[in-house]
Amino acid sequence: MPYILNTPADQKAMLEAIGVGLIDDLFAQIPSELRLNRPLNLPPALTELELTAHMERLAAQNAACGEKVCFLGGGSYDHFVPAVVDDVAGRGEFYTSYTPYQAEVSQGNLQVFFEYQTMITQLTGMDVSNASLYDGGSAATEAVLMCMSASNKQGRVVTAASVHPEYRQILETYFAHLGTTLVTVGTPQGSVDPEELAQSLTDDTACVLIQHPNFFGCLEDVEKIAQAAHERGVLVVVSVDPISLGLLKRPGDYGADIVVAEGQSLGTPMLYGGPYLGIIACREQFVRRMPGRIAGQTVDRRGKRCFVLTLQTREQHIRREKATSNICTNQGLFALRASVYLAAMGPQGMREVATACLRKSRYALDKLTSGERFSKKFERPTFKEFVVRDSAGNVSELVAEALDRGYFAGVPLGKWYPELDDCLLVCVTEKRTKDQIHGLAKVMADGRKQKADGRKRSAQPATAP
């Protein structure tokens, strides 16, 4: 086996030193009736060459973004990743190390986490960040649980239909076991009505969870929402797209108590949804309720500045069933990627990415809705995603046609929102070019023609521009 170093001679010498005859004797403590008396039923072993060929074959059966032009969003985004991110994250000293239990030989990781935490607070305008959670959905869930424990209100959590439907589904799963009610305020206009939201707040409401820009790409009235919630003594959790913070006001500046985000946009490939980066940041007063790892600055015995994992009494290896959360790891490698990404972008780069997303997506919205078939579904201002309505009500066929011609046209919304069965969520990142946007517009316009003519779908594969 390629990763085992013991030669037969080594094995023999080691067994002699131990004082047993056979390796099998070392398993004597496992009762024989519990031993598997046959080989596992697994496919045969592959050499590196065979495995590589096999995996390349499987990979080739997928159509990847790049091969198709990607207008998909909804929480996972095709943003540009500077080479420096891959270069740094590819260093074995980072990716083959582990949780920094021994601070003296983990200053690299600990400093990275400290810098990551700092940059997340700079980006969000909050006081404190942890060193990351599993993903955006787990960050939203953990933030809500934090609010429930901080406010000592378990009865009710209010959210909006414009929050990522999968994040809300995760909350439903957790709440089924905690007895908490999730109240979802509808968003027929594409964003939540702050007054309607205010009316759903009760004395036992722990927090409000909103998303800004929301799942439809629309901006929410965040200031009014935060104000209404705080007037009722309800905490405010905001889920953001970190890229949008190159342009939009920071959540700390409009009153968020906890900010969460899916950090994939910050330098991590889409990888079919994971592993990603759960960002969570909060106001100072909640720091001891924060789940997950936190790096802190201190001095060593010689007085030198250094970094350690800190506030560990919140964690389950000390508090066990009374821990603030059962999470015992972070997404260290992706916190590193986000750090390098943010360092490479800097203030101006973040502004440029956000501006490019905004301008290109508006341009695409105008192009797509310039004909008769597609219209803008919501009147709210949008950032990098938007919803278009297909007057022909034929979104699934449209997506299939576009795919044949080399485009992932967007995410059909009917799966989560039956009332939006005729709608498509389209995302335009800085990577999309003018030609690609024109290409999508043409494909969608042709789709109209084909439907009117009753012609069959073109079987001819087209190459993407």
Binding site: I18, Q29, Q102, H177
Partner: protein, 484 residues
């Protein structure tokens, strides 16, 4: 020689006006952002991030990386974490564009290769577990525990049974009781015997009709196989409760025994340990779970199913607990696990466990004279030694040994876990170390125990920092940089 300038904080290296990445922005429009978004939503300035050029960044991180110990550079016998070598082929494969550039919402017909792989992984994990059905969704081991406990809760709810308690031994990972609490159960601790096995009398006393699940780590945290596991499973099943296996220690038993065969109804895998995903400085991991057939309807969604030649995601299971994670889970880690299992096959996986156990026993035989192993002369993949006598005789603690090992170029074993052993050091060499490395490590331990206690109290001496003040860090937390 260390480059000390490059280990200044990014914020201290920042110079106003430096740039690295630039984004083309005016191809479609130069409309001012104020004309596209309401000014009330806009920030008045860009976020106050550091300003750096690419060489600053590369040198900074390259130098920081040298301050880490890692599996690529050092022996890392961190017990219970299974720090084995991370195959390079898996890294290259996981970054193939046909895998890395897949969007979670692209149509299923464009994902057939990936879904075929995930489906095969589900089947391979079920076979290794000796159980029937697998969910790849959970994001980490602790997340797998929580998910499985929710599955158990749904099962009992469907049967109309009100069961409120989850039992776990005091030697269990702290995530066990924390997960139980989060799934809405009362966590109850069961005592362990001296040898780390479950105290059957205490289990019997605490096991009742209110008990939903008994969580067991087998092989245990002490690297021992729970001899009474069959009897325990019978006791638990007799009361109508379920057995959950914490799969953290699967590296010891691949192809040798299967949790399903020794009574487990549910388990999680830690693919980053057992199947060697890189640990990434503390993540990502993954936490797929395997369950018996009768629990399958409750698994979180989606799962991958095969129908004829096609693979698809299944959503229509009305009894499912729902979603536990956005999108499909830690796919990048699962790809590595798949590659690892396909590299080894049945015989190879068995050899992995055999050599992991051989290495652990060999190291145990070499160190037990100076660091006694209270739980005996044999172990599986890891063992727990104690520095209790050294502490009593010479005032040298497990922490002193751990810190001094760093000077000699070894990552320290896990210290002070499990909590039930005084001055404990949990050592797990894994199968990817050589006899030479184990010999050198054992000899280093001898040498250290003969060094002066004063020298050891102040260790490490050669690292860039030594013995950070953790009390101050927790008392007055400084968790971000602020300008002086």
């Amino acid at each position: 020689m260390r480059n000390t300038r490059s280990t200044q904080l990014l914020f201290e290296l920042s110079r106003s006006g430096r740039r690295s990445a630039r984004i083309p922005s005016d191809e479609v429009s130069t409309a001012p952002v104020e004309s596209l978004l309401p000014t009330s939503a806009l920030a008045t300035a860009p976020p106050p991030l550091p300003e750096l050029a690419e060489p600053d960044i590369v040198r900074h991180y390259a130098n920081l990386s040298t301050l880490n110990m890692s599996v690529d550079t050092h022996f890392y016998p961190l017990g219970s974490c299974t720090m084995k070598y991370n195959p390079k082929r898996n890294e290259r494969i996981a970054s193939l564009p046909g895998i890395a550039n897949l969007h979670p919402y692209q149509p299923e017909e464009t994902l057939q290769g990936l879904l075929a792989m995930l489906h095969e992984l589900q089947e391979m994990l079920a076979e290794i577990a000796g159980l029937d059905a697998v969910s790849l969704q959970p994001a980490a081991g602790a997340h797998g525990e929580l998910t499985a406990l929710m599955v158990a809760a749904a099962h009992f709810r469907a049967r109309g049974e009100k069961r409120t308690k989850v039992l776990a031994p005091d030697s269990a990972h702290g995530t066990n009781p924390a997960s139980a609490a989060m799934a809405g159960f009362d966590a109850v601790t069961v005592h362990s015997n001296e040898d780390g096995s479950v105290d059957l009398d205490d289990l019997r006393k605490k096991l009742d009709r209110e008990t939903a699940v008994f969580m067991i780590t087998n092989p245990s945290t002490f690297g021992l196989f729970e001899r009474n596991v069959k009897q325990i499973a019978e006791m638990v099943h007799e009361r109508g409760a379920l057995i959950y296996l914490d799969g953290a220690n699967m590296n010891a038993i691949l192809g040798i025994t299967r949790p399903g065969d020794f009574g487990a109804d549910m388990m999680h895998f830690n693919p980053h340990k057992t199947f060697s995903g890189p640990h990434g400085g503390g993540g990502p991991g993954a936490g797929p779970i395997a369950v018996r057939k009768f629990l399958e309807p409750y698994l979180p969604l989606p799962v991958v199913e095969r129908s004829g030649e096609e693979y698809r995601l299944v959503w229509n299971r009305p009894q499912s607990i729902g979603r536990v994670r956005s999108f499909f889970g830690q796919v990048g880690v699962l790809v590595r696990a798949y590659c690892y299992i396909r590299t080894h096959g049945a015989q190879g996986l068995k050899e992995v466990s055999e050599n992991a156990v051989l290495n652990a026993n060999y190291l145990l035989s070499r160190v037990k004279h100076i660091l006694p192993v209270p739980q005996g002369n044999r172990c599986l993949h890891e063992f727990v030694a104690t520095a209790g006598k050294l502490k009593a005789d010479r005032g040298v603690s497990a922490m002193d040994l751990a810190k001094r090992l760093l000077d000699y170029g070894y990552h320290s074993p896990t210290v002070y876990f499990p909590l039930t052993v005084r001055e404990s050091m949990m050592i797990e060499p894994t199968e990817t170390e050589s006899k030479e490395t184990l010999d050198a490590f054992a000899e280093t331990l001898f040498r250290i125990t003969e060094e002066s206690p004063e020298l050891l109290h102040e260790a490490p001496h050669t690292t860039t920092i030594s013995r950070p003040d953790e009390v101050q860090a927790a008392r007055k937390p400084i968790v971000r940089w602020t300008p002086a």
